[in-house]
């Protein structure tokens, strides 16, 4: 494609693309996101391609492989327009039928429709699916409109018009003003007001400045940044261009996790495409604005999500944070003024510039505006990506959208904010999603991970899990984080292994506060949160471990024993084969027994037994 030298040429291109597509009557939007790919959506794509070309429908039916549409649990999912028909759990064998029945004849295929678990009825359209009904997808909905590998799709959907506005319509100062007025706060965890960050960077002395997109997404159990960057890379790029224009940066970086190969690939392709069209490079669209973006891959270090460590990592160094007495907006990447924002933060920018700050600010609460994408996972029915207005209550997210617990288990808590966040008990589920409200309650929105826990989750074990994670992920530079977390873990291990003492609970709390106050970077400062919040809301579980040597959820290995209920066991032998430690013996069709000496309490047998015969006490 030729380079675009003015915004008129961009508009012309947009018209051209739209004209070319006028004869498309049907669009099949098949999810090719990470979740659906794991459910073999690639083979479904191939089956569709083949069937469509056999039927000679290539030019009138558009098969669009999109980024994540959200409802990963039901994957592979697809939407057919017109009609907003939603099919889930589609297999390659279904392609033939879908093309013939639905695309050609316009008839629905009953068995591929989503079944509402409450009413038991099949739901026809996507917007009627309860999982989607309660959402307000401002960003995720755009994933359906584009093939992430196609800049034409993005342009056809109105893309890069916010950039045009930022280059011609409004001054850098008014861009910053608009972002400030929108009330946009950082989606990466801290919730720092984006407009203020930009203003500080713009005022910082120096001609050389940088903007960075933080796509490190180190919070385990969260993947919204992946979905956005992978599913709509040009949206993020456009946001970065506008930010660069506003603060006066010439160069940008996308720092992306290497564990996300598709996100790396898609952002690289997007950058190349934008460069080819002259949307990146010198004198963008004929203006005086020059800007380019490079992709830097992360190295599997959670601490590199922290701003100073991330910048060190882009510089090719070890990702050790440094003291931030001088802020990165003044002294950042290569010691130049730098704006670092999260993927989702950048993705919110283009629509604020196009539609104005007031439409953004009309959604949300007093102090938290707009929508937030959450990764709803864990022990819940409907897992997937969820986008809701700020201010939505946790209850609505977990029960209305998430559909409640799995296997009829009752939900006990939700962990928000990842390793830096905390656990909130079910009694707190009426709290709204709001940066300030949640941090007051001892947790945080963080990046938007929401891991649901039920009666089978031991909260002490959860705290231990996070400490183990953080101990591995701490850079190890400073004493409170490196040694303090290790000591907390030592105590929690004592508690989970039956050696705990009541005094340890107070020491845990005191040490936790010491670490929060004295650690160098955000990782250490927030590291005690999972322990402090579970101590606050689930102290009785700690006490049961210490005083009664019991793990109420039956999780902590040292406090439980496995045995086989002879009345339930029918001697199928599945457990015997499953046990990797050869701890189970028994004759076929006779009740089996577990040798407690050999049993490592891994629980593999229990997960395999179809008759629920294996007991934990």
């Amino acid at each position: 494609m030729p380079r675009l030298n003015s915004h008129r040429e961009l508009e012309h291109l947009r018209e051209q693309i739209r004209e070319q597509r006028e004869n498309i009557t049907t669009t099949i939007m098949l999810c090719g996101g990470p979740g659906c790919q794991a459910s073999q959506s690639q083979t479904v794509v191939e089956a569709f391609r083949e069937e469509l070309s056999q039927q000679g429908l290539d030019s009138s039916v558009r098969l669009r492989v999109t980024g994540c549409q959200g409802f990963c649990e039901q994957g592979p999912v697809m939407v057919i327009e017109p009609g907003n028909i939603f099919y889930c759990k589609v297999s390659p064998e279904d392609a033939f039928e879908i093309v013939h029945q639905t695309v050609i004849k316009g008839e629905l295929i009953e068995r591929l429709l989503y079944e509402d678990p409450v009413s038991g009825e099949r739901v026809k359209t996507e917007s009627e699916v309860p999982f989607y009904r309660a959402q307000n997808q401002q960003i995720l909905s755009q994933n359906r409109l584009v093939d992430p590998l196609s800049i034409e799709d993005y342009i056809a959907a109105g893309g890069y018009s916010a950039l045009v506005r930022a280059l011609n319509g409004v001054s850098p100062e008014s861009i910053i003003g608009e972002i400030k007025a929108s009330g946009l706060r950082g989606r990466g965890g801290g919730g720092f007001p984006t407009g203020r960050k930009w203003a500080e960077c713009s005022e910082a002395p120096g001609d050389e400045k940088y903007v960075i997109c933080n796509a490190d997404e180190g919070d385990p159990g969260a993947y919204m940044d992946r979905a956005v960057l992978e599913g709509n890379p040009h949206l993020v790029l456009e946001g970065m261009m506008i930010g660069a224009r506003a603060v006066g940066a010439q160069k940008g970086y996308i720092y992306v996790r290497n564990e996300y190969p598709l996100a790396v690939k898609h952002s690289r392709i997007a950058v190349d495409q934008a460069r080819e069209l002259g949307l990146l490079g010198d004198n963008i669209l004929g203006s005086s604005f020059s800007f380019d973006v490079a992709i830097a891959r992360g190295g599997g270090a959670f601490v590199c999500g922290e701003s100073t460590a991330l910048m060190a990592s882009i510089e090719g160094k070890v990702g050790e944070p440094r003291a931030k007495d001088v802020h990165t907006v003044v002294d950042g990447l290569f010691h130049k003024p730098t704006v670092l924002n999260n993927v989702e933060t950048w993705a919110n920018v283009p629509s604020i510039i196009s539609n104005g700050s007031s439409s953004f600010a009309s959604i949300g609460t007093e102090s938290s505006k707009g929508t937030k994408i959450l990764a709803l996972t864990g022990r819940i029915k409907n897992t997937g990506l969820v986008e809701v207005p700020m201010g939505t209550s946790i209850r609505e997210v977990v029960f209305d959208i998430g559909g409640g617990g799995i296997n009829g288990n009752s939900i006990k808590a939700v962990q928000t904010g990842g390793p830096s966040g905390g656990c909130l008990p079910v009694e707190k589920f009426d709290l709204p999603l709001d940066f300030d409200v949640l941090s007051e309650a001892g947790s945080m929105i963080g990046s938007g991970g929401m891991v649901v826990m039920d009666e089978a989750s031991c909260m002490v074990d959860v705290a231990k899990y996070f400490l183990t994670f953080l101990q591995d992920e701490s850079c190890g530079n400073c004493l409170p984080c490196r040694v303090g977390i290790d000591r907390m873990l030592e105590m929690i291990t004592d508690i989970t292994e039956g050696r705990g003492t009541p005094g340890q609970l107070d020491l845990l709390a005191e040490l936790g506060e010491t670490i929060s106050e004295t650690a160098l970077c955000g990782l250490g400062k927030t590291a005690p949160n999972p322990v402090l919040s579970t101590l606050r809301y689930f102290r009785s579980e700690y006490e049961a471990h210490i005083n009664e040597n019991k793990c109420p959820a039956g999780v902590c290995k040292a406090l439980i024993t496995y045995s086989i209920d002879p009345d339930r066991c029918n001697g199928c032998g599945v457990c015997l084969k499953g046990c990797v430690y050869q701890a189970i013996t028994g004759e076929k069709k006779q009740p089996h027994v577990i040798d407690v000496q050999l049993c490592q309490k891994c629980g593999i047998c229990r997960s395999e037994c179809k008759f629920d015969a294996i007991q934990v006490v």
């Binding site: 790919q37 979905a227 190295g299 599997g300 090719g316 897992t383 891991v451 994670f469 891994c602 593999i604």
Partner: protein, 163 residues
């Protein structure tokens, strides 16, 4: 790794210390791990002291300093997978293969690694075997997977034969 291959990777990036991590990624993509000679060559090529190269390679978990097995089983230990029983899978893999996390089986066929999240949390627990994703994995599924890759017949049939 041949000097030629290193040269190719370094091409256009010489004397650019900030390219260190990118270059190490490329070395690993080619060789599966980062041998000592490669680090020496990278140190020379980029003008980064060898101490720093070694530090970076040892700091980031994405880099392997020794060769991996032919089949790398990566078990996700992220929060979402953890609460759905990822621990069982680790026990299954280490127990069945008789090696610890991070090690390679003596025949070089398997190694077990962990990752903190693969971004497909909704379908957890997740195990990848080289590049292939397996979702909703149970210890039983994992056992069969390991058996199949290991060229063994799944245990069911073995059982039948011996009985």
């Amino acid at each position: 790794m041949s000097p030629l291959a290193i040269d190719q990777i370094l091409d256009g990036r010489r004397s650019q210390p900030d390219q260190l991590i990118e270059v190490l990624h490329d070395v690993q993509e080619k060789d599966g791990y980062i041998p000592e000679e490669a680090m020496q060559a990278v140190s020379q090529g980029l003008g980064v002291p060898i101490m720093e190269v070694y530090r970076v390679a040892s700091f980031y978990k994405a880099f392997r300093l020794k060769p991996a097995g032919k089949n790398v089983l990566t078990i996700c230990m992220g929060t979402a997978c953890h609460v759905r029983g990822a621990r069982l899978l680790l026990d299954q893999a280490t127990g069945q293969l008789g090696i610890e996390l991070g090690d390679v089986t003596p025949d070089g066929l398997f190694s077990i690694e962990r990752v903190n999240c693969l971004g497909t949390c909704a379908l957890g627990p997740i195990v990848t075997e080289n590049e292939t994703y397996h979702h909703h994995v149970t210890p039983g599924k994992l056992r069969k997977l390991i058996d199949t890759i290991g060229g063994q017949q799944p245990e069911e049939t073995q059982h039948a034969q011996t009985q």
